[in-house]
């Protein structure tokens, strides 16, 4: 390949300078455009400001404290003056059987919740969409949304009462068939089904709103066209509704996968007891016991950081896979 003599030596240098200047101009132009945009649309950014301040104060500023995961933290010395100890807390955690058990429980509960609980709101939304009687539809929607608005403490109270061996409705029904009462909430093997079932009962209705909104966005002419083509309601659900809301389903799945290690902390605290730790103790309850109750803030911070890193990796992975195979992604 020959080099054009014109573009060599001093000429090359000139070209490089020109290119740099052009780039600088482009950058200056971009900054000016952003400035113009901000001046023109400042009211919109003003509306955004409270949320940004909230994010900075409550999500970004606390990140400063994350460093105690790598320090021998002392309340008296403060965050800055506590000595660095590297990954010692992480080594401690991974040598702690309770932490390993907590990770295992978290994953088992989360994966079961995902597999069983994730499709339920979608099914509910699809069923609501098929209900023609508006009165019945509104009544059932209200009934299934209601548990979401009840405090977790009350929900836990209802669950404890329902599964009570003496007066609970579940044991009463079991008693009708001649069986002895079961002490559900003290039996480790029953904790997960009860916890996952309670979560679905409490949240599935409310979560179905997202899918109902997505269904409402499907053009009615798609259904009319399918009706003329001869599609049954079942075929329309499979061939129009579900594919149309698939992007929403995928986005919700990615978000759910990102939160896979965030099992409902309050509900576990409210329902578990030492007898069921074997299946009920999760990372967040472990952090709570070690950090808050045991005063080991640095160890708890390390466990929390581990949780966050895993969630971050999971969300990135799910998003990348989704982007590649379904052209739908969070970013």
């Amino acid at each position: 390949m020959s080099i054009d003599p014109e573009i060599s030596g001093a000429r090359t240098e000139e070209l490089v300078i020109e290119a740099r200047e052009a780039q600088r101009d482009r950058k200056a132009g971009r900054i000016q455009r952003v400035g113009d945009h901000l001046r023109r649309e400042w009211q919109i950014y003003l509306l955004l400001l409270p949320t940004i301040i909230w994010l900075l104060l409550f999500l970004y500023k606390p990140m400063y404290g994350l460093q105690i995961a790598f320090k021998d933290y002392s309340v008296f010395r403060g965050i800055a003056d506590s000595p660095w100890i590297g990954f010692e807390h992480f080594e401690t955690l991974f040598n702690n059987d309770q932490f390993i058990r907590a990770i295992r429980n978290t994953l088992i509960i989360s994966v079961y919740s995902l597999i069983i609980g994730f499709p339920v709101p979608i099914l509910l939304a699809l069923m609501f969409n098929e209900v023609l009687n508006q009165g019945f539809k509104k009544a059932t929607q209200t009934i299934v949304y209601l548990p979401h608005f009840i405090s977790s403490v009350i929900i836990a109270g209802i669950v404890i009462t329902a599964y009570s061996p003496s007066a609970g409705i579940v044991n009463t029904v079991i008693g009708w068939f001649g069986f002895d009462p079961v002490y559900f909430l003290t039996r480790p093997e029953w904790f997960r089904p009860i916890f996952i079932g309670t979560g679905i009962w409490q949240e599935a209705g409310f979560q179905s709103i997202v899918y109902l909104a997505a269904i409402a966005g499907v053009s009615p002419t798609l259904y009319e066209s399918a009706v003329v083509d001869g599609a049954s309601r079942w075929q329309m659900m499979w061939k129009i509704t579900i594919p149309s809301i698939l992007p929403t389903i995928i986005i919700m799945l990615i978000i759910r996968i990102g939160n896979i290690l965030e099992v409902s902390f309050e509900m576990i605290i409210l329902l578990y007891q030492p007898a069921t730790y074997a299946t009920a103790d999760v990372v967040n309850t472990f952090i709570y016991r070690q950090g808050i109750q045991g005063g080991q803030y640095d160890l708890a911070a390390a466990a929390g950081l581990f949780n966050a890193v895993v969630a971050f990796v999971l969300v990135i992975t799910a998003n990348t896979i989704s982007k590649r195979y379904s052209r739908t992604s969070l970013w």
Partner: protein, 367 residues
């Protein structure tokens, strides 16, 4: 015979009646266009034919079979929608094949049908694309492909070109006409665009406020409108309307208004209407421009001349009301500078009863 017959079709939503007893016979292979302003009931009528709206009263027959209570899928009709109604998650091939797959037709027959239809519509190279990757015209063709592939007895078109730009609309209009000539399927087409109606229809049905105003071929409706609504709705620019009184002229009746007099055709209904106050309709195309030298011209005040190339629109006022003349430009541009009035052949004038809006009887101009 795969025609469509509407006999006293009524549509009511609760106490509100929106279609008031439509009677229409669409012959086999005929292309009928329902045209009218927004809210006139044309789309509702089409949707009743498709089975997407229940019929409140009357009888609907397709191919001689009463279908009032027959499901849309069993009516053997296919519909093309205004917004195309393409499935965004399916590619062109799957969209076209949708109706056949729903009906569980054999795969090889589906593939052959899709290939044939794609060939007819020039979509062969786009079969793997999704609707989002197509232009408006291509999407419209896919929508038509979905209808054609089922080989229905009747095509129903609900304003299929209204989402396209003017150039593409003209192009697609011609394609629809060619397609109809090729396939010869009975078609009912809804539009509010009178140009589409005039160019596509074998017969036009002009609707207004849930009623049929007139049914006829495009030229019948253009030349012999039954009432002032049809006269003003069809034609661009619309027919000029002038309030006048019928007087006895020299051997033939005339319309007289504010010092002007226009000769009218010598027919009984007009001769017997001397002294009646009427509305005189003159199409912009039928008025011939005249300068001061022309005897018997009707004087007008010129406001503006718009030159459109081969023709010009002269915006003027007559008796204090707007009056438009459409005239050729080629060879008579110099004449346009001296226009001071117009003449019009009596047989091309329409006279309407000012109270009822109906054309007086006996006025017929052959196409």
């Amino acid at each position: 015979m795969s025609g469509v017959s509407l006999d006293g079709i009524v549509k009511a939503y609760g106490a509100v009646q929106v279609v008031h007893g439509i009677d229409l016979e669409v012959q086999e292979k005929e292309f009928v266009v329902l045209v009218g302003p927004s809210g006139c009931g044309k789309s509702t009528t089409l949707r009743m034919i498709a089975g997407l709206e229940e019929i409140t009263d009357g009888e609907l027959k397709i191919d001689g079979r009463l279908v009032n209570r027959v499901a849309p899928k069993d009516r053997d009709v296919a519909m093309v929608f205004q917004n195309y109604a393409l499935y965004p998650h399916l590619n062109v091939s799957e969209n076209i094949a949708f109706g056949l797959r729903i009906r569980k037709e054999p795969k090889d027959r589906i593939a052959a049908s899709v290939e044939e239809v794609a060939g007819i519509l020039g979509l062969t190279e786009y079969l793997d694309r999704r609707p989002a990757d197509l232009s408006g015209g291509q999407r419209q063709r896919v929508a038509m492909g979905r209808a054609i592939v089922r080989r229905p007895k009747v095509f129903l078109f609900d304003e299929p070109l209204s989402n396209l730009d003017a150039k593409l609309r003209t192009q697609m209009r011609a394609e629809i006409k060619r397609l109809h000539n090729r396939l010869g399927v009975t078609s009912v087409y809804v539009t509010h665009d009178q140009v589409e109606a005039m160019t596509l229809a074998d017969r036009i049905v002009v609707m207004n406020d849930g009623r049929i105003e007139q049914i006829g071929t495009p030229m019948e409706l253009f030349l012999n409108p039954a009432n002032m609504f049809v006269a003003e709705f069809l034609g661009a620019p619309p027919m000029n309307m002038v309030q006048a009184e019928i007087v006895a002229g020299e051997g033939q009746p005339a319309a007289q208004f504010q010092g002007h007099r226009i000769a009218l055709p010598k027919i009984d209904s007009l001769q017997n209407a001397v002294g009646r106050h009427v509305t005189v309709g003159i199409r912009p195309e039928f008025a011939e421009i005249a300068d001061d030298s022309v005897a018997g011209r009707v004087g007008i005040d010129i406001d503006l001349v718009e030159t459109l190339g081969s023709e010009a629109l002269i915006h003027a006022s007559l008796a204090g009301k707007p009056f438009v003349i459409r005239t050729d430009t080629v060879g008579q541009m110099a004449k346009l500078d001296h226009v001071s009035g117009f003449t019009v052949p009596p047989h091309l004038i329409r006279v309407f009863d000012s109270e009822t809006g109906r054309a007086l009887a006996g006025q017929v101009t052959a196409a």
